[in-house]
Amino acid sequence: MIKLKNVSKYYKNVMGVKHFTALDDVSLEVKSGEIFGLLGPNGSGKTTLLRLMLGLIFPSKGKISVLGKSPRDVRSKMKIGYLPEQPYFYNFLNPVELLSFYGSLFGLRSGELKKRIPGLLDRVGLSRFRKMRVRNFSKGMMQRAGLAVSLINDPDLLFLDEPTLGLDPIGTNEVQNFLRVLNREGKTIFLCSHLLSEVEDSCSRIGVMNKGKLIKAGRLDELLVAKNELSVVMRGIREADKEKLSELARQSGAEIVSVSRKKDSLKDFFVRAISGEK
């Protein structure tokens, strides 16, 4: 679905000399049906990578293929949805006009739009505000409108840049659940975030970026497994026996429910990955 091969992006100064490297030799593959999370601190190159995949900026080196086509090919965008970080829309439109405008750019006719728009507004929780101008929207409402815009063409591939930015915890939870529903409906999701819990809760595979490099990538459950460590879950153990856990397990007559490899939290993994780079 998405293939990046040795992609670099650098900026030159007025003398034509390379003076800033935004992305350095990034290779990555995202398969159909995945929720892929791209993590990284601010300025690590996540948004640059996203903009390259959307053809908004162009790579200095390397090859990018999205849905089998170059991002410069406008046909590739027919089945792509994009939610930018802090979306800003034409503020004189209301959500219905906004969705009609963006939907018509996909060639959707008014009959089709009339069918789709109420359902979409309902899904993102903006039905009550259908007549309110976007200029009066709060940050969270703007984010919801952005999500609706990204879904107007019923895309196969969704690019979401910080989708829960500006949302309260309940809104964040709703969006995360919504992403899982969309994924179950068959949509591939590429999620950029600096919120570890968001990625941990939503994504099946992740990549970690730092200073323009992709320093780790893989399945979440594989990356978070700590080698040579086991997690033992027991039921019925006495408080006093906790110290001698492994020995007492049998003596105290505790039932061993499961033994599994201990996992780090994504936060621990992320901090270790970034500090290891430094």
């Binding site: 908004l56 994009y82 800003y88 034409y90 405008f101 750019l105 996909f106 060639g107």
Partner: protein, 254 residues
């Protein structure tokens, strides 16, 4: 093609909310309406004074509307990042640029139409008829604005709103003085200076080609052949400006 019209319609809606344009239009309407009062000082020249002043107002305010509408279109889209929400859809950069250009023209023509209707109504009420030659002047003024719009949008693909507006106005003013540039080139002996001035004369638009104000005011007939030549010149200049603008915009990162 459809996307060009969708973007143009949206640009037009956006421009309708531009307060500066509304103020300029209001000023123009008041100025045109007040021309009928200037004539008390020279009753025999009423028609000429009214026409001359009103056409001057339409051209001056129309020019300001053109550069202010067009100069900010791309820079504002880029600073607010709304452009990323459009170019991430199946919209090519050509469609986007032409959509913005057409949207600006809708807005310029709508403003111009209001000024023309007011002027025609005043002339009709005052003299009982309107000289049809005046509409030839309107056509060439509109063509002049199309060229200016293309120049300004070309400038805005590589520069800020302020730069595009200032240079748009500057090119408009110089474009009305190109005959003087040629005159100056003839007077210089230095080859370098002569070449520079002749290059400027060739490259800059000759907006005087669209100026038939004096002929219309004096009641002369402007031939359709002249009109045709001026319109073809305008169409070629516009196309060249749009192509240059596209070449810059196609490689511009947003």
């Amino acid at each position: 093609m459809r996307n060009i019209f969708i973007i143009a319609a949206n640009t037009f809606r956006e421009a309708l909310r531009n307060k500066l344009l509304n103020v300029l239009l209001l000023f123009a309407v008041i100025a045109i309406a007040s021309t009928r009062f200037f004539t008390i000082f020279a009753p025999s020249e009423e028609m000429k004074i009214m026409l001359d002043t009103s056409l001057g107002i339409i051209r001056f305010i129309g020019m300001l509307i053109t550069v202010f509408v067009t100069g900010g279109l791309l820079p504002r889209e880029m600073s607010t990042l709304t452009i990323t929400t459009i170019l991430s859809k199946p919209v090519s950069r050509t469609q986007f640029l032409l959509g913005k250009f057409c949207g600006a023209l809708y807005s310029i023509f709508a403003n111009m139409a209001i000024m023309i209707v007011i002027l025609s109504a005043i002339l009709f009420l005052k003299f009982g008829a309107v000289n049809p030659e005046i509409f030839k002047a309107f056509v060439l003024i509109a063509a002049e604005f199309v060229v200016l719009c293309a120049i300004t949008i070309c400038l805005s693909t590589v520069s800020s709103e302020m730069f595009s507006v200032i240079f748009g106005i500057l090119i408009y003013v110089i474009g009305h003085l190109t005959n003087y540039i040629q005159y100056l080139a003839d007077r210089f002996d230095s080859f370098a200076m002569k070449s520079l001035l002749l290059s400027l004369y060739t490259l800059l638009p000759n907006f005087e080609n669209f100026n038939i104000q004096n002929a219309v005011v004096l009641g002369a007939n402007v031939s359709l052949q002249y009109m045709g030549k001026a319109l073809v010149y305008g169409a070629i200049y516009t196309a060249v400006m749009l192509i240059i603008g596209y070449l810059f915009f196609a490689e511009r990162e947003v």
